[in-house]
Subunit: 340 residues, 2 copies
DNA sequence: GTGAAAGCGCTAACAC
DNA sequence: GTGTTAGCGCTTTCAC
């Protein structure tokens, strides 16, 4: 039994609360109360209204409700990639769901204009709050939104140009742990390859690695290789680190992409000889030979904390801005325990 | 310079078009036109309005626009997991963006009530259309939404109880290709381990594998092992297949999870001995030893096609329902070319 | 070209 | 308890 179509371009008209009220023989207000589970409605009215709703297949229009009440029940997450392994995002989704919040996730895709586009769009949609894994270098354009009361939380990296809540891993400790672990296994020459120092985490981790070298009385030359993660750049860095006069016997890789690129550059044979500790968990790390020792971020905690910070700010817009640093954990699997 | 706060719970009031109109000394209508880039506005008005918008940091409220115009410019994607590697979702997001559509993605998380909840919620939000990777067994409850004109497209699997557009891989051909490939490399006894036949793809793939065995005049006993993907079940199936009187020398795995579970059950040594062709691409397949030969789905095509089907239906709700079958491709990498 | 007024579908004051 | 009424912020007929 197909519905009659309205005149608006072939799309059938949906019943509204007015239609339901008419069908049930009650006032519009009563329908609204039933829909919102207001306990002060007489049971006979409830059943009449529910019957009408079922008869007409009425579904309340969420947009109208949002416009009227002012809240959307939706938070936004602007992350680098949805549709990739992203435990932070998974945690955000689950936590949001547990709080009764809908999640609108979008990929900034390592593109600054796109990030801006997404954030502005989320603001125009008047989402209840936004979590962003910032990519761009300047977010001052969001100041008016902040002034207008839009709750905003940065994840994994701080934002520049504005002051917002932030949750991220303890990058410095992670690098220190990796260095120390390799050092404990007898390595004297330990090299670092990681992301560009133009990137926040690349900057923090490279700096932490230099600090570790200094703390162990090691020279820095030839051992610290931050830069873009391309096959060429990484292979060249590997070459410098491993084939100099005083070659490194162990390696710390600064993020997942670096780790994978290094493994591909080395090839299975060489990779099995070199002690490696990666920063960031790697998918299938246990199936590699040797299995990969990594410094794992508490990604789930980070995502959950991001939502909690956001909700705290939604509840109290005037609370002081807060930065939460989440510890990291060493996962010992084999590659980091190879002897020099 | 902090804004004055409205009385609504500490959240400052945002300027509306009325405020902009007053500030600019023009009519509300004129502001609307400027915001929507209506070319029939005098340039001096445009600049006056734009100045007012900038002065007040006005952002049009998307919800109100949507309510008035009836369209949201947003499509929904209910997939099993966002935040996991999901090339279909990545393709959906990119294609949607290219079409000027916002994407609202949510994880059904292998949970039928949750899937239902998400889909109903998307309908209540009056999204312009929904793409769903169906999980539940009965979607008849969506019939009223279909009748009300909600465009709906199934991805990877058909939906049951309702008739909607669908895009999915050619499962049967994929299994045939895998079998044929192993057969060509000299294998006579080829086993299959895959997902439960309660699942659509598990059903299709197991059936296709039986058909392949029959076509090659092979017996079926002991070679076809569909079932839940647990370590115990898969290891037991492996045991049966590989350690009988007439052991299999090659294996077809029915999906990614099966492939990974098999590799973990076998361990590196045994895995290197057994010819394996996996259905579905596996992350880091190239880093394994031997690298994994797989039948890869054209995931990007599937996602793009889903959006295209959805847009076609949005444009013409009365067009005939269509199912698109996307071919699969063999990726030769090593594991499928081992001799018996 | 611009301006007043109606209304998208819902919720929340108010009286009854 | 229930019904009437006035909006939420925007777009869009219509006259001007």
């Amino acid at each position: 039994m197909s519905q009659a179509r309205g005149g608006n371009g072939g799309r059938p008209k949906r019943p509204t609360m007015v239609d339901v009220a008419r069908e049930a023989g009650v006032a519009l207000r009563t329908v609204s109360r039933v829909v919102n589970n207001d306990p002060t409605v007489g049971p006979e009215y409830v059943s009449k209204v529910e019957a009408a709703i079922a008869a007409l297949n009425f579904r309340p229009d969420e947009r109208a409700r949002q416009l009227r009440t002012g809240v959307t029940g939706t938070i936004g997450a602007a992350v680098r990639r949805i549709a990739e392994v992203n435990p932070e995002l998974a945690a955000i989704e689950q936590t949001a769901r547990d709080c009764g919040l809908t999640l609108l996730a979008a990929s900034t895709d390592f593109d600054e204009p796109r990030e801006r586009e997404i954030l502005i769009s989320m603001c125009r949609q008047r989402l209840d709050g936004i979590i962003v894994e910032p990519y761009g270098e300047n977010h001052a354009y969001l100041q008016p939104e902040l002034d207008a009361g839009m709750p905003l939380v940065a994840m994994d990296r701080p934002m520049s140009g504005i002051s917002v809540d932030c949750v991220m891993s303890d990058n410095a400790s992670g690098i220190g742990i990796a260095f120390h672990h390799l050092s404990q296994h007898g390595h004297r020459r330990i090299a670092y390859i990681g992301d560009s120092e133009l990137v926040f985490s690349g900057r923090e981790r490279a700096a932490a690695f230099r600090a570790a070298l200094r703390a162990h009385g090691q020279p820095i030359e030839g051992l610290v290789h931050p830069g873009p993660i391309t096959t060429e750049r990484v292979c060249a860095a590997l070459d410098t680190a491993l084939h100099g006069d005083d070659p490194a016997t162990a390696l710390v890789t600064g993020n997942m992409d670096t780790t994978l690129t290094v493994l591909r550059c080395l090839g299975p044979q060489a990779a099995a000889q070199l002690a490696i500790v990666g920063f960031d968990e790697v998918p299938l790390a246990d199936l590699l030979q040797p299995a990969l020792t990594v410094v794992a971020q508490e990604t789930f905690t980070i995502g959950r904390t991001a939502v909690e910070l956001l909700r705290a700010r939604m509840a109290d817009p005037s609370r002081p801005v807060q930065t939460v640093v989440v510890p990291v954990t060493l996962k010992v699997r084999g590659s980091g325990e190879l002897k020099p």
